[in-house]
């Protein structure tokens, strides 16, 4: 009997979300197959790669990242440079300095920084908060207003602040609402339900279902993403069909493998190599588990992951 291959194409698909405007706008999602299963059906919108900068400019960056931004004096310079690296599809501006337990910068100061960045580049924009839910309610709401018309992803609304962030980003200023749950499939779904009940268009939501650096509880991230994609595609769960965006840089560049200098740990070898390896491995795993976009920091990681995507899709 001849072997007839059965297509693993699903009758359901991930919703498409367009980020940015004009020629450089990108589209996330749309696939009706498992990640990279192009042999089952074509994947129209390949996963996208973003590069992350923060309001601290190069102040807190490791030497191996700083050297790529030599000559940049302002945030605008840094943003332009970041957007110019090979493989960059979008720029992520993280307002790290807003954290009340850190620099605790004022909302006004951060909005000025955000506007400087937003005006400097024409690529799609992701605006990430300080990781403090209370501060982010204010920061991200203001950010949604500050980048009006940019069709940016506001990263992210959480269980604690989804009403404020969702209303500002999704309803008042027509941005895309990031919905963040920390490795909790039930909450991932619930947050999408709550946001849509609030009135946010289901096609204006992108999920961050959790993130970790490889080796730091990563198996939970992997299984969460896989379960979300399985529900979205095989069970046609419309409340989980939003594309997934995963911040990688902010996790990876905080673990010892990436931050310990070669002087402190000579037997570990080159720090840059280690950091890039961690970032590439984590991002590749995220994409294989179903992320539609990843956010990275090192230009070599961006170029490597971008090449990987091009060769697989």
């Amino acid at each position: 009997m001849p072997f007839t291959a059965k297509s693993g194409k699903f009758n359901a698909s991930i919703k498409t979300v367009t980020v940015g405007t004009g020629d450089k706008a990108i589209t996330l999602g749309g696939e009706n197959v498992l990640p990279f299963y192009t042999f089952d059906a074509p994947i129209e919108n390949a996963p996208k790669v973003g590069i992350e900068i923060t309001d601290f400019g190069m102040e807190n960056e490791p030497e191996c990242v700083k050297k790529y931004y030599e000559g940049c004096t302002t945030l605008a310079d840094i943003a332009k440079k970041a957007a110019s690296f090979e493989g960059v599809d979008f720029l992520c501006f993280r307002m790290e300095g807003g954290d009340p337990n850190g620099a605790n910068k004022s909302t006004e100061e951060l909005m000025a920084a955000l506007k400087e960045v937003a005006e400097a580049v024409d690529c799609p924009l992701v605006v990430a908060g300080s990781k403090n839910a209370e501060k982010d309610a204010e920061l991200l709401s203001k950010a949604a207003e500050a980048v009006q018309g940019k069709n940016a992803i506001i990263l992210a609304a959480r269980e604690e602040n989804y009403k404020t962030v969702g209303a500002a980003a999704g309803l008042a200023y027509n941005q895309i609402v990031g919905a963040e749950s920390s490795v909790d499939i039930n909450l991932a779904k619930q947050l999408n339900v709550l946001l849509t009940q609030l009135g946010v268009n289901a096609s204006s939501i992108a999920m961050n279902v959790g993130t970790a650096a490889a080796g730091y509880g990563y198996e939970y991230v992997a299984s969460t993403m896989q379960r979300v994609k399985a529900a979205a595609l095989s069970q046609n769960d419309t409340q989980l069909q939003m594309p997934i965006i995963t911040p990688v840089a902010s996790e990876v560049w905080g673990v010892k493998e990436a931050v310990t200098t070669e002087a402190d740990m000579p037997e570990w070898g080159c720090q840059e190599r280690r950091g890039v390896d961690m970032e590439v491995q984590t991002a590749a795993a995220d994409l294989a588990c179903g992320s539609n976009a990843v956010i990275l920091k090192h230009p070599t990681s961006v170029a490597t992951i971008s090449k990987m995507i091009k060769e697989l899709v």
């Binding site: 039930n186 779904k189 619930q190 339900v193 009940q197 529900a231 069970q235 046609n236 409340q239 989980l240």
Partner: protein, 261 residues
């Protein structure tokens, strides 16, 4: 496993208001009942136009077009003993939200409805019953085999035959209830889809009892592998039970708002 499929039963000529609306081609009461059922979470709607011997073809076409144009091509079960009316309904049916269901074939006088479903690429409800009520599961499974083979011979996929064990009324046939549930398990073990008029079990019971009995029955039947049922979706207790069983069976992913979905 796929989510449990509910077929809303409230568009039936057995309800005088619906009968009158069908006869007079009055859209308003039909659309109102359809909307109530869809809002409550019905996937399919059953369109029972009765025997409709004189004008069945015209009536079924009218009903299919009315419902599908108003409710985004809602999938329908075409329910009448008039075969020509079913064919007429399918001829104007839009499949974008699901194949039409032929309701129904049995192992006696209505076996040709299997052929009709096969010829029209439809789903068919295959009632495992001949003349009179089957005496045991040997008899039911004999009919099941017969209906399945007939469908396959005519080129159907097994998944498009939804086997109905024929739910029986508790008041009078209490001793048969476990038989029905065991029959569902046999369908399920064969990998077959199943459905049925679940609320038959509570026929003749006081109104406030019926949702309780129907909910208990659907939970036990879903445990046995029932994949669909013809129900009153406006029975909140029943629908909440179905949604909860879908969670326990891992057919849908849990979220705190699952009852609102």
């Amino acid at each position: 496993m796929a989510k449990f499929i509910t077929i809303g039963e409230r568009l039936s000529t057995t309800a005088p208001a619906v009968n009158k609306a069908f006869t007079e081609r009055d859209p308003e009461p039909i659309l109102k009942r359809a909307k109530q059922q869809l809002d409550a979470g019905a996937t399919y709607l059953d369109v029972n136009i009765g025997p409709a011997e004189s004008d069945g073809e015209d009536l079924m076409k009218w009903a299919v077009q009315l419902l599908q144009s108003e409710f985004d091509n809602v999938p329908l079960a075409l329910d009448t003993s008039n075969k020509k009316a079913i064919e007429a309904g399918i001829s104007v049916y839009n499949r974008s939200k699901g194949k039409p269901i032929v309701n129904s074939a049995d192992a006696a006088g209505r076996i040709e409805n299997i052929d009709l479903a096969a010829a029209n690429d439809a789903i068919v409800i295959a009632l495992c019953n001949g003349e009179g009520i089957a005496k045991d599961n040997d008899e039911r499974m004999g009919y099941c085999q017969m209906l399945l083979e007939r469908g396959l011979e005519h080129g159907m996929e097994a998944e498009d035959l939804w086997f109905d064990p024929l739910f029986l009324v508790v008041k009078g046939m209490q001793d048969k209830q476990m038989q029905i549930l065991e029959c569902i398990k046999m369908f399920s073990d064969m990998g077959l889809n199943s459905t049925g008029g679940l609320s038959n079990n509570s026929n003749g019971m006081p109104k406030h009892i019926r949702p309780i009995m129907d909910s208990a029955m659907v939970a036990m039947a879903m445990m046995q592998g029932l994949t669909s049922a013809i129900v009153n979706p406006n029975d909140l207790r029943l629908m909440e039970t179905i949604k909860s069983c879908d969670i326990l069976k891992n057919n849908t992913l849990y979220a705190d708002s699952y009852l609102e979905l």
